[in-house]
Structures are given as C-alpha cells and as structure tokens.
C-alpha cells in the first residue's frame, strides 16, 4: 500500500447492507443429551431450530476406562444422509508434553484430538453458521481443552473449523468418539439456537 494515504484507504464504497438493531432473545436450548461411543444428535431441523440461523453446541467428550483418543463428527441432511464429502476443515492441537499436530480434512469428517479419559474434563465449544439454510454454505468454528489430573502429558488445547459446501439444512450430526466404549455419563451435549430470524 505504499503511497496510499490513510484517508484514501478509508474511502470505502457504498454499503449494500444496513444495520438492523432489533433486540431479541439470545436463543434457546434446542436439545441436549448424552452419548455412548458413537452417537447422533438428530432432529435439528425442527420447528424450534428453524427460528434461528446459527447453532452453538457444547460438548463433553470422554471415554470410560480408555486413554485419550481422537474424536470427530460429520453433518447429515434429512434422512441421516451424510454430507461428510462436502466438508472441508482444518484442525490443530497442542499438548503440554505431547507436542502438537495439525492438518486438514477435505471431503471428510472433522477431526478432533483428544477426547478425554473417564471423568477428567474435556469440553469443546462449536459455533455453526447457517445451519438450517437451504440456500447458503455453512461454516463452523470450535475450540476446547482437556486435562486429566496428574497425567500432564495429555493436557491439550485444540481448535479448528471449516465449511460445509451444501445448501441442504443440517438435520443431524454424527459423533464418532474414539474407541467408542464411553459411558453416557462421560459424553454429553447441549445445543443452542443462535441468531434469531
């Protein structure tokens, strides 16, 4: 930008979109529950969720009597039809002493590492945009962390996100959780509607 003044740089063009300040409720709990190994959060394209553009999900993800392993998810349209082939995503995690890893999954499931061990905490927060849209691409972003007491080598933080190249509404999310021997008390989720229509 050499030679371009700040004033010139700030001379923006027309705005096609105007502000809309019309306070509404922040959202509501759409559904919640627990999982056991592989599980599905279903019935998302419901009357309740159709009041919102976006969705926020809080996960806890652990395995019973199993050390940390990966977990992930993919989106499904109506009829539990997988849309994983239309997902492009990137992930990253870093551990206290276990190093870091990174990568992309284009045309596949979203990858996350790690899930937790037993009742040691692991949480992951996910924000998904345009969930119920039948005309727009979806994108998501998430982050989380994990500790397990004295086993410091498994202390990690993680984050990532991606886009779903589909105009079909998301109706369900399939979660694959590592070794899949989780007790329902160790895997849970709460889904919130966000950005009211």
């Amino acid at each position: 930008m050499a030679g371009v003044t700040t004033a010139a740089r700030m001379s923006l063009g027309p705005i096609a979109a105007t502000e809309v300040l019309n306070p509404k409720g922040i959202g509501e709990i759409i559904t919640y529950g627990s999982g056991n190994g592989q599980y599905r959060i279903s019935g998302l394209n419901t009357v309740a969720m159709q009041k919102y553009h976006d969705m926020e999900i809080w996960f806890k993800s652990s395995n019973q009597s199993t050390w940390t392993t990966s977990w992930g998810f993919y989106f499904e349209s109506a009829g539990q039809t997988s849309m994983s082939g239309q997902m492009n995503s990137s992930y990253y995690y870093a551990g206290y002493s276990s190093g870091a890893s990174h990568g992309t999954n284009n045309g596949g499931n979203y990858y996350n590492y790690p899930s937790g061990y037993s009742s040691y905490g692991h949480m992951f927060k996910l924000y998904i945009s345009n969930v119920g849209s039948s005309s727009n691409i979806k994108s998501w972003h998430g982050y989380g962390g994990y500790t397990n007491g004295s086993a410091t080598s498994y202390v990690t933080c993680q984050q990532g996100g991606g886009s779903l190249t589909s105009s079909n509404p998301i109706d369900s999310i399939y979660i694959s959780n590592g070794y899949g021997n989780g007790s329902t008390s160790y895997q849970g989720f709460t889904v919130f509607g966000r950005r009211p229509k």
Binding site: L12, P23, N88, S101, N136, I137, G161, S163, T165
Partner: protein, 235 residues
C-alpha cells in the same frame, strides 16, 4: 454487586449481494457484562475485477474498526488502533503472529485485521467461508476496551492446496490505542458500534464481502459494577 440474567441478540446485519465493503452495527446497547460479536461469511477476493488481488497468494482476513472510530464516523479522530493477530498454518505446527496490520507493521494502525486466507482463484464460495467470534468484556465502562477474537481458517478449493494452504485457526486482539498521545479521549467511549470489512488490496482499493456475509452482536449478562459512567473529561 447485583447480577442479573440478561442475554439478548442485540442486532444483526447481512449482505444481500457481493458489493458491500463492510458490515456495520451502531447504537449497540452497552448495558451488558459482555458483548459477543459473530461474523460469518467470506471475502470476495476476486472483487469482480475491481481489485487487483492475484490468484494463489495469501491474503489478509477481515478488517475491524469500532467505537465509531473510522473515516466519517463520530469518533473519526480516534481511529488509531493496536492490533495483534495470530494464525496457524496447516503445513506447520507453529503458530505465527504479527503486530499491526499488513500495511502497518507494529505501529498504531487506522484499522485492525484478523485472519489470513490463501486465495486460489475466482470466487470460491464453497471453501472460503468462515466463522469468527469476538468477545468484549465490560463494553460500557470508561476504560479502554479490547476485543479478543477467535476463528477458523479455511481450506482453498482444491485438495492439494488444502493441506498446505489452509489455517486451522486464527486468534487476535484489537483495541483502540489508549496510550499514544495522538489518541483522542473519545477512544474511551462505550463499545457501541463496530464495522467489519473486507479489507483492501495492495493498491488500497477496498475489497467486498461475499453475499450472505453476516455480523451479529449478542449482549450477555449484566452487573451493576460494569457501568461506571463514561465521563473521561476529569481524568
């Protein structure tokens, strides 16, 4: 201290075409413990031929301004920002960071900037959309406010580019400059407005946001201790 449960979606604005340079919210109610901003959408790097962004190059993410501190805004004279941005490229485990913005390294800047995208070519709607969240604590007080940002990166269109040219995450913090003598006192005004833009190309020409790009602000929580007034004249 009184704490109440008070959570609202305060405002939302969305592009209806690909010709908007920015999305803007003003008059935001700052009577909240936290404001959370969410942007989802994309930058139209192709620019419809109006900008000179070259294909197959890394590009900056969205531009950010707030508190009316932009050209023509009510606090235009205070448009001096500090910016710190981080990104994690998928071809390395390292996190990278920079101070300032692309055009103003480690200096007071006329705007802030978060994100980094590899622009392949064309208007690649399928893989260039992203979600970005910002948190501002105590938006209504008379102290300098900063917004902490976190968001996802994106994967370019083709598979071979996806491995080496995507970012798994972005993070950053933005604030109006409260320490430089050039800053006006108005920098301490409430966080009652924000503008998220598509940034500029290397020639300084503003880029545009893609259609269905959206900016939303949530007000979360309320406490009596947050509101300390905004009279900065006596300090």
């Amino acid at each position: 201290m009184t704490v109440k449960s008070k959570f609202y979606t305060l405002g939302s604005v969305e592009t209806s075409n690909s010709s908007s340079n920015y999305l803007q919210l003003t008059g935001i109610n700052t009577d909240f413990a936290v404001l959370r901003f969410v942007f989802n959408g994309m930058i139209d790097h192709s620019g419809g031929g109006t900008t000179n962004v070259a294909s197959n190059q890394w590009q900056q993410g969205v531009s950010i301004q707030f508190q009316g501190a932009w050209a023509g805004g009510p606090n235009a004279s205070a448009a001096k920002y500090r910016n710190h941005q981080c990104w994690q490229a998928a071809n390395s485990s390292n996190w990278y960071h920079s101070l300032g913005v692309a055009a103003h390294s480690y200096s007071v800047t006329p705007y802030c900037e978060i994100g980094r995208q590899y622009y392949s070519s064309g208007n690649v709607d399928s893989s260039e959309r992203f979600t970005l969240e910002g948190i501002c604590v105590m938006p209504g007080n008379n102290q300098s406010k900063q917004i902490l940002w976190k968001g996802s990166g994106t994967s370019p269109a083709t598979a071979y580019q996806g491995t080496s040219y995507s970012c798994s995450g972005w993070a950053g913090e933005t604030k109006l400059d409260a320490q430089n003598s050039a800053s006006a006192a108005v920098a301490m005004s409430p966080m009652n407005s924000i503008r998220i833009g598509a940034g500029w190309d290397s020639a300084g020409t503003p880029k545009t946001l893609g259609v269905y790009s959206c900016l939303t602000v949530f007000g979360e929580g309320w406490t009596s201790d947050v509101q300390t007034g905004n009279d900065w004249s006596g300090t």
